[in-house]
Structures are given as structure tokens and as C-alpha cells.
Amino acid sequence: MMVLTTRDREISGCGLAGIISRKKILIPGETIIRSISHMIERGNGLGAGYAGYGIYPQFADAYAFHVMYDDELARKETEEYIRKHFHVIHYEEIPTKKTKNIQESPLLWRYFLKPIEPPDVESFVEEDFVMKAVMDINDKIKGAYVFSSGKNMGAFKGVGEPDEIGEFYRIEEYQAYLWTAHTRFPTNTPGWWGGAHPFTLLDWAVVHNGEISSYGTNKRYLEMFGYKCTLRTDTEVVAYLIDLLVRRHKLPLRIAAYALASPFWKDIDRLPERQRRLFTAIRMVYGAALLNGPFAILVSWNGGLMGLNDRIKLRPFVAAVKDDKVYMASEESAIREVCPSPDRVWAPKAGDPVIALFEDFDGGEQFREYQV
């Protein structure tokens, strides 16, 4: 019997790519489109997306909300919510263009916002306020989804191949000093616009290849801290876990990575006393943040880029360095397509994060000692 699939293509996995200029030299959008589209075989056209940092210098101090709406009613409700809680510095439709295969899309708008500080709150934390707004919109307004909410960054995603999504969002018209990108092959969850990667919160953006089989545990854990998973895709929990562990609990980024991809107990038992106590504490306190299942992820934020594999390397991940740029991708060819002769290419050790920070990023002790 002949088996027909929607596309005549081998089953593969997702693909991811990221490029950072540690000196903040702007990288044209065309570069990241070319890199991710080189791995087009890894996706199946049911999701692709980009995150760019440094793309809104004119509104660098405002929270840039990228919002997707199912209909005008959702937009009206959301804009009422936004006006009540934020000063709107500027807003507009996200510029798009129809492509061969993307003729229809949800409504896509962006807003540059500054929080209106409530008069009656004693200790106002701006980021928590923005986080709550994102959760409120995603959870309470039917048909409205925040794609990104960080400063001077934005996520662009939808259903399509990575080159088409790039063309649709006119990514080649943007320049960023940090890009990540994803091409999707959805396996367990629907291929819809909100389910495309990156998944974001504030300026955190996560692209992921694999599946998080601990999703239920992670989701329930996050709910205790006010995070609501509404996007029907496992990767969403990774973005919120990073926000919780690094921004709110102030864990060093590397330690947060070890909470997500913790060493095995049998390896912890062999460590020197101090490290054994540290890793035991991480596993005890953050057991519910452990990501189970295969993954390679890229985590980006206004400080840099981190790549991380699950601890037994169930998904491919390659890194390279050339001058001030650090590249991370599912396949070496995606890197070499845009950087033919890197200074160094390597396959990072599973469970050990690869961290590349901007040279001018002052994240303090939490980040300092762990430069690539």
C-alpha cells in the first residue's frame, strides 16, 4: 500500500540556528534566513520563526509587544487592556507581505509600551508587571496571543517554511546583533501560528528541537509562580522556567542550565564535596524544573545567547566561533552556509551550556565568569 503524506519528505526533526555578534555589529536578516533555510529538510512547513535583538533602536526603552489576533474583537479587547496598563509610545501593524504559500494570516500588530505604575503598589517590579500583562492577554482574552514582549527585540513566527516566514515578515529589512531562528516539524502538538517558535517572555526567547516529556510537571510548577501555559506547545515552559530561575530567582545562568539539564545522580555522587552539595541542592530545589526528554535549545536575551543540549545528547547541536561572532545550529552546514571558514567548530558536551555574552553586557556575577 502506498502511504500518502501531505508532503513528500523524510521524517526529520526540528532545526535551529543562532548568530550573535559579541561586539554588537549588526547582522542582516538575510543571513539568519539563509542559515535556517539551509536546514529546510528538518522542518515540514508547519512552523518557523525568528527572534531579533537590537531591531528597534528608536524605541529601545519600550517593551515591544508583538501580538497575534484571531479577529478584530480580540484586538479591540487587547488594546483596551494595553491602554489601561501601559503608555503606548507607538503602535502599528507588523509589516508583512503575502508570499506564494502564505496568503492568509492572523492579525499581527506591535506596540511599544511603558508600564503605568499603579499608585497603590509598594514594591513595583516592572518586569513582573509586564509578565502579568502577557499572561493576562494570553489567558483571558480569547484569540489574542503575545509573541514577544521584550525591549529592543521581537519574535516573528507563523505557519510556513523558514524562508517563507522570513519573506512574509520581511526579515531581510531588519538588522540585529543577535538572531535566533527555527524550522518546525511538529510531532505531538498542533502546527498553528502560536505554536511556532520562538517562545518568549520579556526579552527571553527560546527555540527548541525535541520534546519536553516533563511538560506537565513543569507547567504545574510554573503555575505556582503565576505563569500560564496557553500556547499548546511544550517549549513554552522553557521560556518561563528561564525567566523564573534567572530573572526572578537570580540563579547564575550556568546553574539554571544545570537545573534544566541536571547531571545524573550517579555522576553527582562522584563530585567533590562542594560541588556534590551544590548539584544535590539544585536537583532537590528545582526537581520540577528539570526538563525530561530530548532537546537542543537556544536561549537568547538582551545579554547574549545560550545553547544547551539534553544531558544524553538526543538532538544534534554544533557551535562555531569566527571573530566576534558565535554561531550555534542543529547542523554544521547551516553555520558554514553563512560562515564558510570559522576559527573553531565543535560539538558541545551534552548538558553543558555554551554561553556567548555581548562584550558590553554587565549582568554582574550572575553572568560574568562564564564567557565563551
Binding site: H38, P316, E332
Partner: protein, 250 residues
């Protein structure tokens, strides 16, 4: 016949592989592929005595199901080199990715630098066919997992980082074949299915034969078989047969 030079720049793997197969049918045997970058399945299923030279990064499943001939990669190779291969020799002048030599039942992989995770899983011998993988650098976890036959040789010639020569879960579930690792191996890394045994004179002869060929393949790198052989090897063999036999219903 003259070698056929193909510029693979921007070429989809299907077109590239179809072109190679068509040309093999026309009688071409020597191919020089320029500007390869990640094209998959190069050489897939070719049964003829071909010689394929690859400039650029070879994509996933290089040489999958191949039976004869030689492939030389003058750069790195991605995942799945020599997947279920039957008899070809693949030489990689760089590093190779994960799951190389999966289910391989013949032929050789000679890798100059490091190899990724899960090398030689389910590798097996078949009649007089004995697959051999030699790695010049280090290897990741699950080296030789479920190995059923053949020879894995890990040389650690470069030792250019702080990682151990081989990763965790070494030879888990191994029930056939032999693993030789140059230098010491922490017993913590392997499970109870395997044991370390003495390297005999017979082993040394076998190692010398394979490593000499390896050195010849990478002669531009000044490798010397005597120097390599001057360090002791750790030999691992299975100490049980079918360690998971009990968990099957029949």
C-alpha cells in the same frame, strides 16, 4: 574514465545523489564533489566500486547502505556517517557527528578528529565481514552501545581539551565485538556487560595492521604507527551474551 567533477553548491541532495547514480550507470567511477555543504545521503546504496572525493561538510547519513568503494571527506562530516553500511571505506579529514556506524556490518570509518555520541551502536559482523571504526580524537557517550560485532579503535591522538577520551555509558549492552582504547579508561564509564582484558600479541598485530592503514590515509598529518602503538591500549570485550535476553518474552 576521467573523474567527474560536480559543483554541489546550492544543490539539493536528491539532485546530487541522482546525478551520481546516473553517472555510475553511465560508467563513471571517480567523483570529485566540490562545495558540498550538508547534502545528505551521499553515495546512498551504491553497489559499484566508486571513489568519491568530497570537498566541504558532508551531510547526514554519508555512505548509508553502501557496499563497495571509498569516500574521502576533506572536511567535517555530520551525523550518521556509515549508517548500516555494508562494505565501503569512509575517510574523514576532520570530525564526525553522532550515531556514526550505526548498524554497520562491513567496511571502515577512519575519522581524523573527534567523533560524537553513540558511535558504532548495533554494529555487527556478518560471515567474513568485520566493520572497523578508527577515531583519531575522542568520543562522546554511548560509544559501542549494544555493539554486536566488529572493531572500534579510539586513539586520542590530539587530547586538545579537558574531556576524557571517551564518554559515559561506554559499551552499555555490548554483546559482541572488541573495543580498543589507547590509554586508560575509568571503569566507572562502562557497565557490567563488559570487562577489560589483556591486550595479547595477536591484538597488537591486528591493531598495527589497522592503524598502519589509518596512518597511511592521513599521511599528511605525520602520524606514526610505532609512536601510536608505543602507548598501551585498553581492550574491552563483552562478558555476557545477550544481556537483555531475559527481558524478551521469547
Amino acid at each position: 574514465m576521467e573523474p567527474l567533477i560536480i559543483d554541489a553548491k546550492g544543490m539539493h541532495y536528491r539532485r546530487l545523489n541522482q546525478m551520481i547514480r546516473d553517472k555510475v550507470a553511465e560508467g563513471y567511477r571517480h567523483f570529485i564533489l566540490e562545495n558540498v555543504n550538508g547534502q545528505r545521503y551521499i553515495g546512498a546504496g551504491i553497489m559499484e566500486e566508486v571513489f568519491i572525493e568530497i570537498h566541504g561538510v558532508a551531510g547526514n547519513d554519508l555512505g548509508v547502505f553502501m557496499k563497495r568503494g571509498t569516500i574521502i571527506v576533506y572536511d567535517n562530516a555530520q551525523d550518521g556517517v556509515g549508517n548500516t553500511m555494508e562494505g565501503t571505506k569512509i575517510v574523514v579529514h576532520g570530525m564526525a557527528g553522532d550515531v556514526c556506524g550505526y548498524g554497520m556490518r562491513g567496511g571502515k570509518l577512519h575519522i581524523l578528529r573527534d567523533i560524537g555520541y553513540r558511535t558504532g551502536i548495533h554494529m555487527k559482523t556478518y560471515k567474513d565481514m568485520v566493520p572497523v571504526i578508527i577515531i583519531g580524537g575522542k568520543a562522546g557517550d554511548f560509544f559501542g552501545e549494544y555493539m554486536a560485532g566488529g572493531i572500534l579503535i579510539l586513539l586520542n591522538l590530539w587530547d586538545d581539551d579537558d574531556r576524557p577520551v571517551v564518554g559515559n555509558f561506554l559499551a552499555t549492552g555490548m554483546h559482541g565485538g572488541t573495543i580498543y582504547i589507547r590509554g586508560e579508561v575509568d571503569p566507572y564509564l562502562f557497565g557490567k556487560e563488559v570487562g577489560v582484558v589483556e591486550v595479547t600479541e595477536e591484538d597488537k598485530l591486528l591493531l598495527r595492521k589497522h592503524i598502519s592503514e589509518y596512518c597511511e590515509d592521513f599521511k599528511d598529518h605525520g602520524l606514526d604507527v610505532d609512536e601510536i602503538m608505543s602507548e598501551s591500549f585498553t581492550k574491552l570485550i563483552p562478558v555476557s551474551t545477550r544481556p537483555y535476553g531475559k527481558i524478551y518474552a521469547y
